[in-house]
Amino acid sequence: MKPRKIYNRIPVFRNERNLSRQDLADLVGVNYQTIGYLEREEYNPSLDLAFRIAEVFGLPVDMVFSTKPMKPLSEVLRDHLEKEGD
């Protein structure tokens, strides 16, 4: 079975929280280069690692990872506000 590409918002959430790749790597217990591979979407994390990363950011896992290309958060917020306005 060919694995699907997993998209993520790790760089956005990591930069928001002023974490270096090394900081995030230490928090989830992987090598800092693995964070680089994840951010470039060249490596699909295990379910356990995906949950650990989402827990560091304090977000549900589907806010951080997706099987479809992820919209910028500003676009997500605009769509949400438009829905609320309707």
Partner: protein, 144 residues
């Protein structure tokens, strides 16, 4: 993995390392094992050995690839385990047919009274077996 060499540079060092190993074996069996002990042969062998050691230190030891391919699974994260396992699988695939070919060549050579199974050939094969996974990673991986 500690180093940050570009893949092109790493591939250059890999070529240098394997090239010096092949030339070293060739010089040894072409000259020294054949009874030729001139200073040029010995000098070239020494140059090859120095190149071999320096390129090993640069591309395998210095980048942390040796540690990556020789440490226990408990010291690696899930991506490292995966890439190391793939590199080991490829290494088996390359090393076994290559060694069989060398043994076959040695058997054929011994029929012509050219005996090449002394210490240098097995030492070269053992060295190759140890560095192949690291060399595959150095060649393939974007970042090491």
């Amino acid at each position: 993995m500690a180093g940050s060499q570009s893949r092109t540079l790493r591939r250059g060092y890999v070529a240098l390392n394997l090239g010096s190993l092949i030339i070293l074996e060739g010089l040894y069996y072409g000259w020294v094992a054949g009874g030729v002990h001139n200073p040029v042969a010995v000098g070239l062998i020494v140059v090859c050995m120095i190149t071999l050691v320096l390129s090993f230190l640069h591309v395998i030891w210095g980048t942390g690839l040796w540690r990556l391919t020789h440490t226990g699974v408990e010291n690696l994260d899930e991506r490292q385990v995966m890439v190391t396992r793939e590199a080991l699988r490829h290494s088996y695939g390359i090393f076994v047919p290559f060694t069989l070919l060398v043994i076959f060549a040695a058997a054929v050579a011994s029929d012509f009274d050219f005996h090449i199974f002394d210490v240098v050939l097995p030492a070269g094969l053992l060295y190759l077996a140890h560095i192949l996974p690291a060399i595959i990673l150095a060649w393939k991986e974007k970042v090491v």
